[in-house]
C-alpha cells in the first residue's frame, strides 16, 4: 500500500533530552569493534583536544529517531514494518558529540516517493543541545519493499 503523502512535512520532537554518557559511548564503540582510546578514555580524548570522550560518527543512530517511533507506527501512514529495510543514511556534523551532551532531536518526514515497486521515506533529524546549539543533522531513508506495488 502506498504511504500516506499527508505525512510529508510533519515534525516530531524527542520527548526528553538524550544524555550522552561515557559508558554508552564506550559500549557503542566496543560493539562496532573500535578500540580507539578517544572513545574509551577521557584522558586520551582530552589529550586529543576534546572536552571528554567523543562518540563515533554513526553514534547518533542510537537516539536520533527516538521521537519518530509513534509517527512511523501510525496506522494512517500505512508503513508495513516487516518489509522495511534501511536504504540510505547520512550525517552532517557541526562538531563531535561528547560525553556530557544533553541532546534533543527534531525529526521531519522530509519526503515520500515511489521508486519502482518500493516506497522511500526520508526522515531528517536536527540534533541540538538543550541550550539550542545545533550539533548534527541526520538523514535516514527507509525503504518499504513492495509498498508501491
Amino acid at each position: 500500500m502506498p504511504l500516506n503523502r499527508d505525512f510529508v512535512g510533519r515534525t516530531y520532537e524527542s520527548s526528553a533530552p538524550y544524555e550522552v554518557s561515557r559508558v554508552k559511548i564506550s559500549e557503542f564503540a566496543t560493539a562496532i569493534g573500535d578500540s580507539n582510546p578517544i572513545y574509551h578514555d577521557r584522558q586520551a580524548a582530552v589529550a586529543a583536544g576534546h572536552p571528554d570522550v567523543v562518540a563515533p560518527p554513526t553514534f547518533p543512530i542510537v537516539f536520533s529517531l527516538l521521537g519518530t517511533g509513534d509517527a512511523l507506527g501510525d496506522p494512517d501512514l500505512g508503513l508495513n514494518f516487516a518489509m522495511v529495510v534501511h536504504g540510505e543514511q547520512r550525517f552532517e556534523y557541526e562538531r563531535p558529540i561528547h560525553a556530557g551532551d544533553e541532546l534533543v532531536c527534531t525529526s521531519t518526514i522530509a519526503e515520500i516517493r515511489s521508486v519502482g515497486r518500493n516506497e522511500f521515506l526520508t526522515l531528517r533529524s536536527d540534533v541540538s543541545t538543550t541550550s539550542g546549539e545545533l550539533v548534527c543533522r541526520t538523514y535516514n531513508v527507509i525503504v518499504e519493499r513492495g509498498g508501491a506495488a
Partner: protein
C-alpha cells in the same frame, strides 16, 4: 581535535589501503544491544528466512560503522569527520559459524576541497557484493 593527516600531503586520487573487518553473529547481537536495533533479521535465522532473506544479515548501520572506523583510523581523529553518508546497496549475510562474514573496505581521496577538507570515497565489499554505494566522507585535515 585534529586530524593527523596533513592536507598538503594528500593528493586527489590517493588510495587508502583496504582493511578487512570480520562480522560474526555475536557481533550483531552486541551491536543490537548497543544500538537498540533488535530487528530479528539481524539475529534470528528462522525469522530472517521467513521474510525471504537468505540468512541473518548484518545491520546496515554496522557496516556503515566499519566504514566510519576506516575513515577515522586513517584521519587520526573521529572529530575530523564533518560529513558521512552511504547507500545500502546489498546485504552482508552472516552465517552461523566461527568466521561469520568479512567486510573489506578501501578508500580513495576523491577530491580536495577548500578549508583543508577532502572527500574520501569508500568501497565496501562482502564476498563479490558491493554492500555500500555512494559512500562518502568529508574529512577536515590538518
Amino acid at each position: 581535535m585534529a586530524a593527523t593527516v596533513k592536507y598538503d600531503e594528500v593528493e586527489a586520487g590517493q588510495e587508502i589501503p583496504a582493511v578487512e573487518y570480520q562480522v560474526r553473529r555475536v557481533d550483531l547481537v552486541r551491536y543490537a544491544g548497543a544500538s537498540g536495533d533488535f530487528n530479528p533479521i539481524h539475529w534470528n535465522e528462522r525469522y530472517a528466512k521467513a521474510v525471504g532473506l537468505p540468512d541473518v544479515i548484518a545491520h546496515g548501520m554496522y557496516t556503515m560503522a566499519q566504514g566510519g572506523r576506516f575513515v577515522t583510523d586513517w584521519a587520526g581523529d573521529p572529530g575530523a569527520v564533518v560529513e558521512y553518508g552511504v547507500r545500502f546497496s546489498s546485504m552482508v549475510v552472516v552465517p552461523d559459524d566461527d568466521n561469520g562474514a568479512t567486510i573489506r573496505i578501501s578508500g580513495v581521496v576523491e577530491e580536495k576541497r577548500e578549508d583543508k577538507r577532502v572527500v574520501v570515497a569508500l568501497t565496501a565489499k562482502s564476498g563479490d557484493s558491493r554492500v555500500l554505494s555512494k559512500a562518502r566522507a568529508v574529512v577536515q585535515l590538518a
